[in-house]
Amino acid sequence: MECQEIEVLVAPDGNVRIHVNGVKGMECASLTEALEQALGGETERELTWEAGDTPGHEGLSEHTTQSAG
């Protein structure tokens, strides 16, 4: 069992930031897909790394890091 957490910040103009924690690899990216579609699908994604993940990959795009998680 792991606790998965999503923080969603909705700005006064309706734009959204979604922060996902505790979700591994591919699932991390797919988890919020339905929501992103409902919000029009115009997204920009950054991966961040926590303790225990491979270090030194900050800022790499999703496409180049999909197998790493």
Partner: protein, 138 residues
């Protein structure tokens, strides 16, 4: 691993748009219908709401998969004094932002509930930003 996603919100789902408008207290008139401008010309929209002031209407029209807001800015500028024009533009803009924000909140709760997430915290910051924290055990 975690990720941060930024989304420039577009209103893509009609049912959730209607739910958001009702949550904001608007009477929603579901169409196809039309909105009329100050010169009583009409434009086709899929649904609409009325703003309290002078019965002005904001319509929503589906274009390329998302709803765009139809309000008659140029008619306002043509027929109104600067002060009224500014006031009406501000009113429309404010309503537009409120609708987009409520739509995003509604969509977040609904879509993530479908995936087993519960809202554990909900707050509105001083800036007007809404913060939702959702959790599930997996």
């Amino acid at each position: 691993m975690s990720h941060l996603t930024r989304i420039r919100t577009k209103i893509a789902d009609r049912d959730m748009l209607v739910a958001a408008l009702r949550k904001l207290g608007y009477d929603v008139i579901e169409g196809p219908t039309t909105v009329r401008d100050v010169l009583l010309d009409t434009r086709p929209v899929d649904l609409k709401i009325s703003l309290p002031q002078e019965g002005r209407e904001i319509g929503f029209a589906l274009e390329n998969g998302s709803y765009t807001i139809v309000a008659d800015w140029w008619r306002v500028s043509e027929t109104s004094g600067d002060r009224l024009k500014r006031q009406l533009q501000e009113e429309i803009e404010e309503a537009t932002h409120r609708v987009r924000q409520q739509y995003a909140v509604t969509a977040t709760k609904e879509k993530l509930a479908e995936q087993g997430f519960d809202v554990v915290e909900e707050s509105t910051e001083e800036s007007g930003e809404v913060r939702l924290l959702l959790r599930r055990m997996a």
